[in-house]
């Protein structure tokens, strides 16, 4: 049996939005993730952002790969078609599916393992193709579903009981996205719901691929380890990771006060470790790619997680834009649109030798 907990309610839906829908129309099934998991907070913000943007659930498609993060599309938008695909292969499913309805937007949820390890190839290619979807990476630096292994975004020197020390430099998802010619790249922290929602709304307004790298601490498998950018050195490890079967209820980590532009702030995680968030400076120009890479690089060197909209290019056509497709969604075309006339068979035979 899986433990089921309900999503924290965001107020009773007394109103409807301009699409004539109540917030309940955007909800999904109860979450089966751990209590206090940052992923649940992100699901809530997706619900809010779509509701507030008056987007009809049937006009969106949900995609995911495999992992804790990839389970989350069932926790929002029940009225939206979804495809929970294979580990690291979500981008290809989404790419094909969005050809059928060039007017529809994809919302994809992936994790750091799903994207930066097994799915790195497809991640890079979906960036360069500028597929019209929001690509959320719920990034916690570990594999949760398989009970605590390093992912490719875990920082060098991170200790996990069973795995020892991580000897590798982490993959910076945002920098990877920018150099792969992504057209919208942002980072946030699950504990900063307001920023998550604002970035989601911006991403929904963007035409093309929108990458949201959201740091979403794992409440269970960071427990015994020096975690993401942690200061918790010397901390006693009390029980081995693989033996965990009981997950103590926890509260989600939330920022007490919103961050100012340019502010650097340490945030304590469940195990007493910290992440350092750095907000982009006021006056930062996110359309300047060189600048985006420069500030990303400085942040990486300082172990800061740079948050905010890092890069945007609103001009580039999406993948389906470049195909000059008919206005009717391809999936609504019928035999008369698709099968050449009978006369064409003679023509074709004549073209053969």
């Amino acid at each position: 049996m899986v433990t089921e907990t309900t999503l924290p309610m965001a107020g009773a839906p007394s109103n409807v939005n301009r699409a004539g829908l109540a917030k309940n129309d955007y909800r999904g099934n109860p979450t089966t993730l751990c209590q206090g998991c940052g992923h649940n907070s992100i699901s809530n913000q997706i619900i809010s952002a779509l509701y507030e943007m008056d987007i009809v659930p049937e006009d969106v498609l949900k995609f995911s790969g495999i992992g804790c993060s990839s389970k989350s599309p069932t926790y929002f938008l029940n009225r939206t078609f979804g495809f929970n695909s294979l580990h690291g292969r979500m981008p290809s499913i989404a790419t094909g599916a969005l050809f059928a309805n060039a007017g529809m937007r994809g919302i994809a949820v992936s994790g750091d393992g799903d994207t930066a390890s097994i799915g790195m190839g497809q991640f890079k290619h979906v960036m360069r193709r500028n597929v019209n979807m929001i690509y959320i990476i719920e990034n916690n630096g570990v594999y949760g579903l398989t009970k605590g292994q390093f992912s490719a975004t875990a920082e060098k020197g991170l200790q996990l009981k069973k795995q020892g020390e991580n000897p590798y430099m982490p993959v910076d998802i945002c920098m990877e996205a920018i150099i792969s010619n992504a057209t919208f790249v942002a980072r946030s922290f699950a504990g900063n719901p307001k920023q998550v929602k604002e970035l989601l709304k911006a991403a929904l307004s963007h035409h093309g691929i929108a990458v949201l790298d959201i740091i979403s601490p794992c409440v269970t498998f960071n427990d015994q380890a020096t975690a993401y950018h942690s200061y918790a050195w010397g901390k006693e490890h009390e029980q081995p990771l693989h033996e965990i079967s009981y997950v103590p209820p926890r509260n989600e980590i939330m920022l007490e006060r919103e961050m100012e532009a340019g502010e650097i702030r340490e945030v304590a995680l469940h195990d007493g470790s910290h992440v350092i968030l750095k907000n982009l400076e006021k006056g930062y120009d996110p359309t300047n790619k060189e600048e985006a890479l420069r500030v990303s690089n400085i942040s990486a060197q300082n172990n800061w997680l740079l948050t905010g909209l890092i890069y945007v290019n609103p001009e580039k056509p999406t993948l389906t834009d470049t195909y000059n497709l008919v206005d009717t969604p391809l999936s609504r075309l019928t035999e008369s649109d698709l099968r050449p006339d009978k006369a064409m068979i003679e023509k074709v035979n004549a073209l053969m030798f």
């Binding site: 049937e58 495809f83 292969r89 290809s92 698709l338 099968r339 068979i345």
Partner: protein, 635 residues
């Protein structure tokens, strides 16, 4: 010397990348246009330039056009393969060669025709120096044409086709053909018996390759989405789709009703096609063994989540990278149960060019009807070589889009439906397509355990129910499979069961077995898996079934053993795997070996029976058994 008319083989040995394919296709097409049954097989290396390559043409007035193993006429242009090429000429054959190759010729049992190709090309100063090698190939075309009475007019027709009517290259090449023909006329005395004479056997036929046929068939099937990754021998299928779509699906407004995308690898290619199929598009991908291996995980997902998609496998020889430019039928068992866990694949098995066309469109109907991946197993021989074919026939049935619920259907059902509910009892559920605006249309597709309403579950009973329904769906699939092609004779001694491109070799082998060995055979060419009733009755009807296929392990044979355990003793495996297009010789020899072995075993068994019949001890042992039984009963 007895003339041999319209019954011989021609093999050209050249270097890969030397432009000889234009010359060789010209010979093939010219003979075809003379009305004579002909086939051409390109035996080429995995290389862009430099390695030896052969092109072998079979001319046969009786229509036996499988690859012939012996070489009657050999044209040697490549110094690297010269010795081998010379040795390969059958006694009484003819040998043309480029006389700049300075090797001793030690054979006196063949006709020798040296061709000064280099000096003849140089003599024509109008030819730019970088074109000399390319155009030089036309010298042997011309010389051969003169010596065997090939019609120069049909050569011109073939060149016009090849160069799509562009006058300059047509003239340049045709002039060289004439130079070659003139040289032969003035310098050679005919010493070989091979001649062509015009016939009337090909005028209703077309000539093309299976990949082109498959591509055009897919377009008549309403293809909307193709994703692919380059691989020999499948690339030309996707390229033909790209080539013919603009013409065949042209619209007034210039907008497109389709998309073709070159993916980053085969994983992504099938992933994209599945995404598109899930979204309601007629979607396909095409690849070969190594690419199909990469597609395995996605094939399993599409099977379990029930997404329609078409996958063409133009088989080459494996395992691993194998021989990338050689043909095979060795992906059958792999594809048959592709992926981990319990899976069953629907497989279509085209054996002719017009079937490549037909299965091109039909595969989409079957995929959407059954909501599952449809594998079409072609091979390098049929996919890349030029074959004579019946003209393509326009689809004889309207498109079958399968069980799809749109908004009005859901309105009628009051939203009461389940994605994986077996409403009709045939194992085939109803699906909705993304973009459906009805509030109850959406469902969540997953490769994890799911119930009739697409909800996640790990419940054992639900899991079993779902898997049993998928099995039932595979049974229902039999109603939609192309029937096998059955050729029966009176009083057949054996049955032959095969699939795919080996048909010509088998037809000829049957003829040889009858004529030379007095063995009569029936032939059932399988065109799909799961097996239909016709396959079962064919097996029931024959005491011995020769299962002929191009692989090492007898893959179809193994599947038959598993599917028909009650008839296991009837099946004999005739498998061979040299990577070359099938020849009648190996089919005949293989069948004969198995037949004779079975006959001698039968005789031995009968002899034993006769001896035993006169032996009273056997009788008493029988009695003993009966006694034992009766005591057991008493107990």
């Amino acid at each position: 010397m007895n003339k041999k008319v319209n019954d011989f083989s021609i093999t050209v040995g050249t270097k890969n990348g030397s432009g000889s394919s234009t010359a060789n296709n010209t010979i093939l097409r010219a003979i075809f246009k003379m009305g004579i049954p002909v086939s051409g097989k390109n035996l080429f290396p995995s290389n862009i330039q430099g390695l030896p390559t052969w092109y072998t043409i079979r001319v046969n007035k009786d229509g036996f056009i499988a690859r012939q193993e012996s070489n009657d006429i050999v044209i040697a242009i490549n110094p690297d393969s010269f010795a081998k090429d010379l040795a390969s000429v059958s006694a009484g054959g003819a040998f043309f060669y480029a006389d700049d190759i300075k090797f001793g010729i030690n054979r006196t049992d063949i006709a020798i025709y040296p061709l000064p190709i280099k000096s003849l090309v140089r003599a024509d100063t109008s030819i730019p120096s970088d074109f000399r090698d390319l155009v030089g190939n036309m010298i042997y075309v011309g010389a051969l044409a003169y010596m065997i009475n090939m019609d120069l007019e049909t050569i011109h027709t073939a060149l016009s086709f090849h160069f799509k009517g562009k006058q300059k290259p047509i003239d340049m090449n045709f002039n060289m053909v004439k130079v070659g023909a003139d040289y032969a006329k003035n310098n050679f005395e005919k010493k070989d018996p091979f001649y062509l004479e015009p016939m009337d056997a090909t005028k209703d036929l077309i000539m093309t390759d299976g990949n082109t046929a498959a591509a055009i068939g897919s377009i008549f099937g309403g293809i909307q989405f193709a994703a692919w990754y380059p691989i020999t021998p499948a690339s030309s299928l996707a390229e033909a789709v790209i080539d013919y779509l603009p013409m065949l699906r042209k619209r007034e407004d210039g907008k497109k009703t389709y998309a073709v995308i070159q993916a980053e690898d085969e994983l992504a290619a099938l992933g994209m096609a599945i995404g598109a199929g899930w979204s309601g598009l007629r979607a396909m991908t095409s690849s070969s063994g190594p690419g199909i291996s990469l597609m395995t995980e996605f094939a399993g997902l599409a099977y379990y989540s029930e997404v329609p998609v078409v996958i063409w496998d133009i088989q080459r020889i494996g395992p691993s990278t194998g021989l990338p430019t050689r043909t095979s039928q060795a992906d059958l068992t792999f594809v048959y149960s592709i992926g981990h866990g319990d899976t069953q694949s629907i497989i279509l098995l085209p054996g002719t060019l017009d079937e490549c066309f037909e299965f091109g469109w039909k595969s989409f109907d079957i995929a959407e009807r059954l909501q599952t991946p449809i594998f079409v197993l072609s091979d390098l021989d049929i996919g890349m070589n030029q074959w004579m074919s019946k003209p393509f026939q326009y689809p004889d049935v309207p498109m079958d889009r399968g069980k799809v619920l749109w908004e009005k259907d859901l309105e009628e059902l009051k939203g009461n439906w389940g994605r994986y509910l077996d409403k009709d009892g045939d194992g085939i559920p109803y699906r909705t397509i993304p973009g459906n605006k009805h509030p109850t249309s959406a469902y969540f597709t997953r490769g994890t355990g799911h119930d009739e309403y697409a909800k996640y579950t790990e419940d054992s009973d639900v899991y079993i129910r779902n898997m049993e329904r998928l099995k039932k769906k595979f049974e229902s699939a039999k109603n939609f499979m192309p029937k096998p092609v059955l050729r029966e004779v009176k009083g057949a001694d054996i049955g032959i069961l095969a699939f795919g491109s080996t048909e010509n070799a088998i037809l000829e082998a049957q003829h040889l077995l009858d004529k030379e060995n007095g063995i009569k055979s029936d032939f059932l060419r399988l065109r799909a898996i799961p097996f239909t009733d016709e396959v079962t009755s064919f097996i029931e009807k024959h005491n011995q079934i020769m299962v002929v296929e191009q692989n090492r392990d007898g893959q179809l044979y193994k599947i038959l053993l598993a599917e028909y355990p009650q008839f296991a003793m009837k099946f004999k495996s005739v498998a061979y795997h040299d990577g070359l297009p099938a020849s009648a010789t190996w089919v005949r020899d293989g069948i004969l070996e198995k037949y004779q072995k079975a006959e001698s075993e039968k005789q031995k068994a009968e002899a034993k029976k006769n001896v035993n019949g006169a032996n009273p001890s056997v009788k008493s042992s029988k009695e003993a058994v009966t006694k034992k039984k009766s005591t057991a009963k008493k107990k």
